[in-house]
Symmetry: D2
Subunit: 261 residues, 4 copies
């Protein structure tokens, strides 16, 4: 699996992306026209730190439309069809073009070995490799026998590697990263989003800082599968809400009311 | 492959769907309130024929929002993962839930034999069946060896059957049917939409009548691959536009102008 | 302002909506085909209580696609253009058709008086009524003078009433209700969603029970404007997370670790 | 009304936008990985003319996902609320942030005079100006009297000017321009898209060339309101299809078949 951020470059991210989001935020609340807001932001009249402060506050407030204005284009190579089938279920704020098993007659199809098989006993691992090699060899034989590629691909396993171009706006990227960086996400797609986060950090540490498992902005984990708290990133929702309820009850016993009651 | 329309029933389609679309159309152009328009439509004060006439005209005019108000829910069983990967690329106006190869540990996984292999020479067909049986048997062995289902599925071929529940609004259904009923669409997904059309016809011949290859409403075929006109449903765009250009030139030579010039 | 749920009826909601969502949930995790799951759900083989239990758990888990399969169609009458301009900003899972000020040449345009003006001193209230009457009278005069409706409407105030037909799937309805039932939402749109919730409750108390301000499923309020805790529905996020942090620190002081750390 | 394209610059459009679309197109049909395709496109190994040729062919074929990967961000100033209410109905592939009449307490609200009133008899025009001035003055008085901005705005007319930031991907931009550049579109929104097209042309004549009324790619006009052919851009669908039918019948009479029959 390989991920490369094709767009924006660090220069474009720095010169344009924060000013565009800043302009989106300010346009809603100002009598100034958006091109004037943008001019002030890109000319340095409004400093980067001040822009970032507003953008951070707006993102944290959940005013999501403001971060739909900037997009990131990733070249994704060598992921399995299992991953791509999951990935393209994301529908909003994202565009995909994927290598077509219908139109490409593969000369060198490749496949992935999952970690559990990499680490399995040698006989099982070898059997896996043989089966995958065999399936892809049979694919080639079907093509050679005149079966059209769109039918020959029926024998390709889920493990077969594929490539995609994905463009995603920042709102969708934060949302999807929130789901896929969770430790309970499937390992391959989680790995993909770790690489994606790494790429975004490399062009903009500020924008990259918003890519995190959903528990980070929420402050708690809301996964039913983590009620035992085995994932240490954040405490579970049940625990957090129970802590608050206990504190409230303590205060009531002492004849005090918590300010928010 | 099997398709069953779970919702609406013929009664619901008749009593509600055309009146809802009629209400959507009339709301835009009337001082009447939508619940009054709907009351007139469902009480028979405005007859079905008159409602259908307006709905037909509005659909043909491309005023698409009016037909986003009614949805169709299909149980789709036994299609391949190749089909499902294509199908879920449709993003607008459509909802999917699909049998998860991650969460289901299959006891009886099944696969499809494409027509080109059904009709191939027996040795090749048998080889295909063996390979598919072998791949799914190996899947079971991996499960038995303690490999988690989410990794064992890596060996499942594209031909493996899967199930989906799909709900789609009429606008999206007409759009997607336009693409997938085209004779140049991939055979399995084309077959799926032929079954879908059949199901819709069975509950509402009126609404079903709008499900057609895109060339039907366009009046011409716009597929580059059909420049030779091998598909007889509609003449190619190039031929149609050339006929008009020729007629226009004839008229000019005779000193006449066509009315639309 | 008036809201009427045109679809589904209570019977349709009861007989089909919970079984459809149940089928969506089960299709993901079962080898059973979706039409068989649906048959069991609608034949009573699987009881309503058991279906509702699964649906409730899945909604609370955030597995949102399962509740995109059922839709609600509302006739909305007499809301202002201020409201409609906000409302149509919702884009996903929702369809609108709205009375067109371009195409309708109003004979009886109407307007709304906001509560702050209803309750203002009489002179100001009267002035408001005069201005609105005057603006809509001028609209009529422009039409009479031959100005096309699409330009005459330029003088109509935001207070002018309009009608819409809105169809929204349950996922979008829960999301939008979460935002618009918040006590910090603008009063008119909040009122609209109170009426919408009332209508949904009337056809399905079970499904209506999921329509609540977003703080209810979250367990805390995440509105910056409510840091002072003036809204009593839920305590503020800051207070809740602080209570947990305090409890954790107490535990650490006592040499204990909270289980989720 | 003023439109300024804030992003991309001509340099960014030239260096990245065509290569990104080219990469999207080629990824589908190639065993090459997308970052390698992109490297060849941006390094000059594949020339611009060759890239544009493929992109043009793919756009004309309707393979729309490939042009969802590049976006354009426009500062739109001084349009009416009538326009903005229409504009934000576009939902797919587009992001908006708009000046909020709820949150901005306007010191200098402004309004537009439509052409039909600019050209009307002086008394009517003056009356329009007086009414608009009066409405916006009353808005200021309501604010001064302590009515909150979110209610004071109820008296603002549709003609009131507003600002937006709009980001739209190329697929959506071509689609929306197809509708809004039509001579039958409402004049203000048509003017907006003429300015938008002008801005896109200025940064990329190649990409700008795809912004045209929908009749241009279709080859005919499909507007019912243009059955009389008063708009000269393209002949009406009915005329074009009739010309082809006539030619086909002529051929049949002469015992010949047209190739596509």
């Amino acid at each position: 699996m390989r991920v490369r951020l094709l767009f924006p470059t660090p220069e474009i991210a720095r010169e344009f992306y924060v000013p565009i989001i800043y302009t989106a935020c300010r346009t809603c609340y100002s009598e100034l026209e958006p091109d004037e807001i943008f001019r002030r932001a890109t000319s340095g009249q409004v400093g980067t730190a001040k822009q970032q402060e507003l953008v951070k506050r707006v993102i944290e407030s959940g005013h999501g439309s403001t971060i739909e204005h900037v997009v990131f284009t990733f070249a994704i190579s060598g992921v399995t069809r299992t991953l791509s089938h999951q990935l393209v279920r994301h529908r909003v704020g994202v565009a995909f073009d994927q290598q077509s098993q219908r139109y490409v007659n593969y000369k060198r199809p490749a496949y992935m070995v999952p970690g559990t098989l990499e680490g399995a006993e040698p006989a099982l691992r070898e059997r896996y490799v043989e089966e995958m090699d065999d399936a892809l060899r049979f694919y080639g034989e079907l093509l050679a026998a005149g079966i059209p590629g769109e039918d020959a691909r029926f024998v390709m396993p889920n493990a077969t590697r594929t490539n995609l171009l994905m463009t995603i706006n920042l709102r969708a990227l934060i949302h999807v990263s929130g789901l896929r960086l969770c430790t309970m996400a499937q390992w391959e797609i989680r790995r993909l989003f770790q690489l994606i986060r790494h790429e975004v950090f490399a062009v903009s540490p500020f924008l990259g800082s918003f890519l995190a498992p959903k528990c980070v902005p929420l402050g708690y984990c809301d996964e039913a599968g983590n009620r035992d708290g085995h994932c240490p990133i954040r405490p579970h929702k049940d625990v957090v809400l129970a802590a608050w309820a206990e504190k409230r009850d303590d205060a009531r016993r002492l004849g005090r009311e918590l300010p928010t009651l």
